[in-house]
Amino acid sequence: MPKHALTAFALTLSVVVPTAALAEWKPNRPVEFVAAAGPGGGTDTFARVVQSALSKNELLTTPIIVSNKSGGSGAETFIYAKSNKGDPYKLYFGTQDAYVLPLANKLSYSQKDLTPVAAMVFDPFILWVNPKTSGIEDVKGFIAKAKENPGQLKLGGAKAKEADETLMTLIEHKTGVDLTYIPYKSGSEAAIQVAGGHITANVNNPSESVEQWKAGVQKPLCVFESERLADKTVIADGMSWNDVPTCVEAGIDVKTFAQPRTIWAAADIPPEALAYYTELFTKAAGTPEFKGYQERGAQIPRLLTGDAFKDFIKQHEATYAEIYKANGWLRAEQ
């Protein structure tokens, strides 16, 4: 170890000191974007939109390759990052999963193996029902129905012990109802199950259910944000995203539960490379491609880099750890 540290120190000296000016670093060979989700998933779309924004606007001229490592709910991606320590030609795309996955599962990576680069945008969460099959029209109706049938109301989401199920337990805590969670492979799958009337409700990012809303088989009850979504374009039933009440307004006291779309690098990448990517993704967030992606997904434009991002991670991880502890989901040795 000391030997390692010495080498690292020497390297830092030789690299940093002579070329003190940052942002000198520039990729000169292909860059790999590793998405912690399968093709078609939210993280995959995120990575590919960033890829198209960068290459279309010639912000990054070396080729970009997007690959998917979705194994173990995305843990595969971050384990891969650990094995590529110091490699600035690989970037890892995820959500809060990067720091939440190790809370519940024994995994061979930890946050120390990752360098946070940026959170480019936040996906809000919405509570959906099928108004026709469930007879539920608003949050009050939802809570009343859940109280009438404790444990009988089925709420679907993507995967187990991740964002969706966590949010459901929050709803339960705040309203005192008892729901049954049903995990599916993806959020869109859960949405179709609600649309088909097989389960009562689901929690979801707006983009995963908007088409079902337009078709009249899903209805948004409330958004888990402190403020209403900004977009006032009418989507269906004469309603826009802005007409969807916040959950606090509607009677579920969960203030904010947005999902960050995050980018990471491996540990120990050169600081110049980190500076370069920070600037690159800041630029990417302003491109028309990325703006279009934000609008389509009714996302919350909020870019976090550097220390602001690190602080956010610390605080977000603590929030999750607290909920996980209350639910008994933390892995054994913690």
Binding site: T45, G71, N105, L107, K159, E211
Partner: protein, 511 residues
Amino acid sequence: MGNFGQLMDGFAVALTAHHVMIMAVGVLLGLVVGVLPGLGAPNGVSLLLPLTFTMDPISAIILLTSMYWGALFGGSTTSILFNIPGEPSSVATTFDGYPLARQGQAVRALTLAFTSAGIGALTGVIVITLLSSWVANFAMRFGAAEYFAVYFMAFASFIGMAGGSPFKTLVSMMLGFAAATVGIDTISGESRLTFEIDELIGGISFLIAVIGLFGLGELLLTMEEGLKFEGVKAKLDMRTILRTVAEVPRYWVTLVRSALIGCWMGITPGGPTAASFMSYALGRRFSRRGRNFGKGEPEGIVAPETADHSAGSCALLPMLALGIPGSATAAVMMGGLMIWGLSPGPMLFSTRPDFVWGLIASMYMGNLIAVVLVLATVPLFAYILRAPFTVVGPMITIVCVIGAYTVANHVFDIWLALAFGIVGYVFKKLDYPLAPFVLAMVLGDKAEDAFRQAMLTSDGSPAIFFSNALVSTMMGLGILLLCLPLITVLFKGGLFGRPAAGDAEAHGRSA
């Protein structure tokens, strides 16, 4: 016939010189990708995806789907020539395709596969054309219980198929289920059977298992049998191809049955791989020549190929109409759709009819181009088999190893494939069927998820599997298929005094 008018509009979009050229390029790229095991259609399509960012969505989807067709065709080539399935959905093609090729009839085997695949694909597209508006509503009726019933039918049709020892079939299937559980469980979020090995956390890739079990396993067997390779006799004349094409309509019963199974499995969540297995199993059961299955029976090639391709085409429909991809490749394309700014869902058909119908029209053209191109490659591929085994053997090994590595760029996977190669060898030596193992691996975790979701929905009551007409019918059919061998044996036993012995024998080298 509103659909027909819209289809004609679609042809107007798809039939420009530009788009036809894109189709040809896509098909050729797909062929290359499909022939290489491990690379596969999903990987190929995602490699091509960045190229489409600057294209308009219609050209982009035509390029990607054409590549998909090409890959589906290419996947059968290595199945037949080397017993290595290039695509998961062409595993069932090895059962009879490889034996037929070994008998020196590689040209016939390839032509049979491609022609029936083309017929299957066209049937699939016709079904899409006629039923597109109906399918979205129908697919909505599928809850967890219905999903499980679909998988149950696939398993049930298979258990009956194994003419050999039912015990061996069961053991093989259970091992497949065990392999499918490796990784993080969807329902509980816990990791299972990973032994804290990082590479196992994502589960065992089906492709790795198949490369080992079939490609390497067969290689070990061939080496033991004395390095014989009958491919030398392969005749290479165009007339054989034409004669074989003319032979295909003779199998019309198998064609119709397989196309129906394929469309059904493509629209429901079964997917092309399950469709090809189910079609093979049912073909073996119901064909008059069923007892020849596994020995190089033409119908044993026609059945899985037709179903595979009709399912592959139909699988695009749930993707467009619901945003639920019916296959891994459809999932990649759906990602593409979202990047081009389109949202798959029930409204896509009314908001972008030019896109949807342009795509459907291109499916007719693309498959036609694919059949012609692929038939033209038959002599080339058959020629490879003329090389002596001392050349082909190492080549297969290299293809297998590279294929195993390409799946996820893990060196660990190469060792895993070698281990599966030994498993495959042992299975064959002890006469355990491989097919149930493979089927359980493909559908095992999906069936498990669906079953547990159904149980959660019903609070543990199995009555949910008979709660409506749709699911009851499917479960009923499944149970019937499961009991069919028993009924047949009882019936024959009562009438002729002893059960038919041919099946067990036929199974010897089949799987």
